[in-house]
Symmetry: D2
Subunit: 339 residues, 4 copies
C-alpha cells in the first residue's frame, strides 16, 4: 500500500534572522530578514517544493516564534500537526551575519529550546511507518530527550520498512565535547541507511583521540575537521549505512554505494555559481536527493538534482524560504546543462 | 569631590529585533530592525544622549550579539568596560512584533542568558561609589546570582552615598511565580531611594494573596495588574524610598515625595503624541528623570523632561537607538510647550 | 479566639545519619544511626515534646526517606499534613561524623532536594494564621522557589498577627556565595519579629564587602565568621526585629529586647555539660524559647528553658530524636539549678 | 607484553547505607551499616579480592563521603588514582532497607552526582590500554558527560585490544524514560564483547514500543521486565557481543557463546543458599566471571566461580565489603560441591 508521505523529517527548527546588510560586519547590521530554518525543517521545505509529500516532526515553544515557524511550514503544504508545542521551552532562533564568500557569523539561541524536547512518545505519535523516508539530523543526538527519541525513531523506521537518512549536521557548539559528537554518531550508524555530509562532517564522525577539530571558525563559517575522508567514508559504510552522499561544494557530490562487489563511486558534477550565503545549501541538496530517491531516480540523477538545489540556494539570502520548485530547477538546468 | 559618572545602570541588555512590518501579524513579518535594548541599557543610552556621563554594568556572552550590544553602547560614549563577558551564557535577545496602538507581541530569549549571571564580584569591580546615581531594574531580582548581586549593589550604593533608583520593570514571564515578584520587590525597597513605575507596575509590587495579575496580554503588551494604586504608592513610600515617579502614559507623570509634613504630589503634564511603539518609552522617561535629577533640576522639571523623552520615543520604532538628545528635546518642546 | 497551633515551623527536613563510631575518623565509620533532622523540623519536635502544639511545613520526595521523616514527626504528634510530597525531588539527607569536642564532618545531600521546592501555594495552604508563631530558618532563603515562599510566609504571618521567628541557620555551602547570605538575610529582617542565632551566625548576617567568613571548617564544624557581634546585634535590631536571642554556647544566652528606652540585655546563664555532639543543640534551644514564649513566660525564663534544652541535646548523639520532654527538663534542672 | 591490570572498572560508586534492622519496615530502621557500593566499584573489589589486579575509574565529590569511598578501595589494593574528584558534585549515596526475601526498598542520592561527570578526558587519562578487561555498566550511559565518555572508553578499549564487558545494571529511576534505556543500550552493543545480566535486564535491553517494564517494585526490589529472554539473548548476540552471561538467580547462570557453528549454551549450576540481601550478588558474580576469564579459565568454570561469589554475597549484609576471597571461595566450595 502506498505510504502517505514521501518523507518525514525529524529535528530542529528555528526562526532564522539573516542580515540584510550583506558584507557588513556583525556589529554594523541594521536589519535582519526573517526566515524559517533548521536542517530537518529546511529539508522538508526543499522536498515539498520539489513535489514530495512531507511531514515535519519538530517542536516549538508556546510563543510567537513557534507560530511563525509552523505557519510558514503549513503554508508550504507540509504536514505540521505531529510537531508538538513544549511548554516552558522556547522556539529556537538563529541570528546570522553574511560576509561572502566565507564568513557567516552565527549565534544560536538554543538554550532550553523546544525541539530538543522531542520524546519517544512524540515519535510514536508520528507517522514514521507511513512515510517512505525518515530524515534525521546529527544535532538531534546532542542532548536528551531528543537523543534517545531520535535513535528510537531510526530503529522504529527500519523495523517498519522506512528508509533512514542521516544528515550529519555537525554543529560543534551544540555538543559539550566535539569528541562526543563522533562517538555518538558512530553508535547511531547501525540504524541508518543513507548518510549525507560534507567532507568536514564525515571526518567529524570519525573524531576520536587522534582527530582534531579546528573550531576557530565554527561560529563564523563551517567547522574544519582534519582527517582522511576516503578512509572515513569506507569506515562509515562498514558500520551500517549502505549509501553515503559526499557533498563536495563547487565540485558537486559523490555517491558511495555498497554493493556485493565492493563500493561503487558515482560522481555528480556541480553547477558553477557565485557563493552568496552557504547556509541552507546543504539542506537544499538533501531535499533534492530525497525527492529523487523517493521518486525512483538513479543515484546519479538524484545527486545531480541535489547539486542543482544546492547551487540555487547558495546564491540566495536564506534557507527554507528560498528552496527551488521543480520549475525553478528546470529553468536553472536549462541555463547550466542537464540533470 | 566630583564623581566620574552621573549614573551607573545595572542589569539586562539585549539585541532588540523589532518588526519592520508595522501592523503585520507576527507570522507575516518579513524583516526586523536590529536595535539595542534592555531596561537599564536603554536608560543608560537615554541619559548619555541628554548629556549625562554614564557607565553600564550588564553582561553579555562570548558571541557576536554581545559584540553588537557593547559596540553600540561604546559608540554612544557609555563606559562599558565594567560589563563582563560570561562564558557559557548567551547575550539576551528579544523578538518583537509591532501592531499599534496596543499590540506588541514579544518573545524573550533569556534562557541561560548572560546578564542574569552578574555577581557580587562584578558589583565590587564596578564604580558604584564613583557615580551619583545607581539605576537597577526589577528584572535584575528575578534569578540568582543577579538577584543577590543587585541587592548587594543597592546596599553598597547607599553606604557610599550613591542614590539608588529602581525602575520596577515588571516582566512576569521572567519570574517563576508573579507573586514572587511582589514579595521580592518589597524586600528590596529598604535599599532604594527613588522608584519609577507605571500604575500596573506599582500594583504588581503589592501583589500578595489578594491581588490578581492579568497576564493574558503579558507577551503581547503590558501586563495588567489590578489594585488601588494610591494605596500602593503610599505603602511603597513607607518601606524605604523617599520619592516615587508614577508614569501615567498620555497623562504624563506624578512625583510623590516624602516630606516631614507628609507626601507631596507634583503633577507633570504629558505631551500629546500618537503611539507607534510603547516599548522603550518608560526607559526614555527614566533617562530623562535621572538626567534632570543628576543636574540639580526640580522634581517637576525632571519629570517633564522624562515625559518629553517618553513622548518622543513612543513615536519611534525602537528603544535605545531612538533616545533623544537635548537638541531633539528642545526642538520637541518648542512644538509642544515648555519643560 | 485561640489558635490551633503554638508554632508552625517551615523549611528543611532530612534523614540524619550520625556516626555510631564516635571519635572515629569519617573514613573509618562502620555504621550510622538514623535520626530525623533539619533546623525547622528539629525545632518542631523540640517544642512538641515540651508540650507545644506544632505543625510542620516541610517537603519530602516520593521516596522511602520521605516516609521515614514524616512518619517520625507524625508519631511525635506534630501535624504533618501540610507538608507536601514533591515529585522528581529527593528527600534531604545528611551524613555526619562525630569527633568531639569540635569536629563534626558533614556531607549534605541537598542537590535537587524536595524541601527547597516549597511554593507560595504551599504557604497559602498551611495554617499560618492559625498558629501563634511562625518559625523559619535562614536556609529556606537560599534558593527558589523556597526563598520567595518563605518571605511570603513571613509577610503573611505578620499581616495575620502571627509572630515571626527566624533561626539564622547559616549553612554556607547551601549558598552560591556567602555574601549572598548576608545581603539576603538583611532584606528579610523587615518581616521578622524575633531572631535566634549564634555569634558567628549574627556576624554572618552582616557580611558585606568587609567581613570575612572563615569557611575552612564549614563542613567539619561551625563556620567561623569575624565581626563585632555587639554592633551586629544592634544593627539587626534596627532593621525590623524587636528581639534577638544570642546563643553563647557554654555561656548560655543573652536576650536583646528593643524597648522605648533602648535595648534591654537579659542574660540567661548556661548549664555546664560535656559536649558530645553540638548538632541540634541550637534547634533544641529554639524549641525551648518558642515553647516558653508561646506559654507567656518571661524572656529570661524562656531563654533558660532554651539553655537547658540545648545543654541536654549537646550531650546526646542526634537531633530531633533526643529532644527533651518537660519531665526530662525538670530532672535536668533538678541536678543543675533552676529555670 | 603483560598488562598491568586484569581489569579496569568504570562508572558509579557510592556509600551504601544498609539497614542494620533486617526485616524492619523502612520507617522503623534505627541504624545503617556504612559500606561501599556501586556496580563497577563492587566488581572491582570482587575481582581484587579473588586475586585480580584492578583499577577503578569512578568519580567522587570533594566531600567526606568521597574520602570514605576511595579510602576503602585503596585499602583493598585497588588502584584509585585515576578516579577524579569533581568539584561542585556530590559523591553518590544509597540508603537501603532490607526485608528478605524480596523487599529491598532503595533510595538513590544521585542528583548532581560526581560519577556521572566522568569525561572523555578522564577516560584518556586512565590505563584502559594497559588492562586486559574494561568493565562498564549500563547506568554509565544514562546521562552526559558519562554517557559519551563510557562509549568512548568502549571504543578505545576495543581498538587497543582490551576486552569490553558490559554489566547491564538496569536502574530505571536513573533514566528519564525506561525505553531510552533500551534504545541506548542497543546502540552501545557494537562496542561490547561480553554482556552480563539477569533475565529482566536482558529483556530491558530489548525495550521498544512493545515491551512493558513493570516498575512498581523498582525502588523496592528488582524491576520486572516482560519479554522472551531467549529471543532477546540471540538478538543481543547479533549486535556485537560474542558472549552473554545470563544470571538466573538460584538456578545459577548460563553462558551463551557465539561460535562459527552457532551459539553454544553452557549451564553452570547455582549454589543453594538462603537469600539475605540480593544487592551486590550480581556484582560479585561479575567479579568472579572476570577473574576467571582474566586467568584463562573456561566459560563454565568462570561462571561457576561467579555463581559461588554471588551465592556467598546473597547471604551477606552488604556489597563491596562482603566480597569473598579465594580462600572464602574454597571454603564455600568445599561445603557445596566443586567449581
Amino acid at each position: 500500500m502506498a505510504r502517505t508521505y514521501d518523507v518525514l523529517t525529524m529535528g530542529r527548527s528555528s526562526i532564522d534572522l539573516y542580515a540584510n546588510d550583506v558584507g557588513a560586519a556583525f556589529v554594523d547590521i541594521k536589519s535582519f530578514a526573517a526566515y524559517v530554518g533548521g536542517c530537518p525543517t529546511n529539508i522538508s521545505v526543499a522536498a515539498q517544493r520539489l513535489g514530495s509529500r512531507t511531514a515535519l516532526l519538530t517542536a516549538v515553544g508556546i510563543d510567537q516564534v513557534g507560530d511563525f515557524i509552523l505557519n510558514f511550514c503549513t503554508n508550504e503544504g507540509i504536514e505540521t500537526r505531529y510537531s508538538p508545542r513544549k511548554a516552558g521551552h522556547r522556539s529556537s532562533a538563529v541570528v546570522l551575519g553574511i560576509e561572502p564568500p566565507n564568513k557567516f557569523p552565527l549565534t544560536y539561541y538554543r538554550d532550553n529550546c523546544a525541539d530538543i524536547e522531542l520524546t519517544i512518545d512524540d515519535v510514536l505519535a508520528s507517522p514514521i511507518a507511513d512515510a517512505q523516508y525518515l530524515l534525521v539530523s546529527g544535532t538531534g543526538f546532542c542532548k536528551e530527550p531528543s537523543r534517545s527519541a531520535t535513535l528510537f525513531a531510526c530503529e522504529y523506521a527500519q523495523r517498519h520498512g522506512t528508509t533512514v537518512v542521516l544528515d550529519i549536521d555537525f554543529r560543534p557548539d551544540q555538543w559539550h565535547d566535539a569528541r562526543a559528537f563522533g562517538v555518538t554518531l558512530r553508535s547511531v550508524l547501525r540504524t541508518v541507511d543513507i548518510v549525507l555530509g560534507t567532507e568536514d562532517e564525515i571526518n567529524a564522525m570519525m573524531m576520536g583521540e587522534d582527530n582534531t577539530v579546528t573550531l576557530t571558525h565554527s561560529q563564523v563559517s563551517d567547522a574544519r575537521v582534519s582527517g582522511d575522508v576516503d578512509v572515513a567514508i569506507d569506515t562509515v559504510l562498514g558500520m551500517g549505512p549502505q549509501v553515503l552522499f559526499q557533498k563536495r561544494g563547487a565540485a558537486g557530490s559523490r555517491v558511495h554505494v555498497v554493493t556485493p562487489a565492493g563500493i561503487d563511486r558515482i560522481d555528480a558534477a556541480g553547477f558553477p555559481v557565485e557563493v552568496y550565503n552557504i547556509l541552507g545549501a546543504g539542506d537544499a541538496y538533501a531535499g533534492g536527493v530525497i525527492h529523487g530517491l523517493a521518486h525512483g531516480w538513479s543515484w546519479h540523477r538524484a545527486a545531480r538534482l541535489g547539486n542543482a538545489c544546492g547551487a540555487i540556494v547558495v546564491t540566495k539570502h536564506g534557507c527554507a524560504n528560498f528552496m527551488p520548485t521543480m520549475t525553478d530547477i528546470e529553468h536553472f538546468i536549462g541555463m547550466h546543462g542537464d540533470l
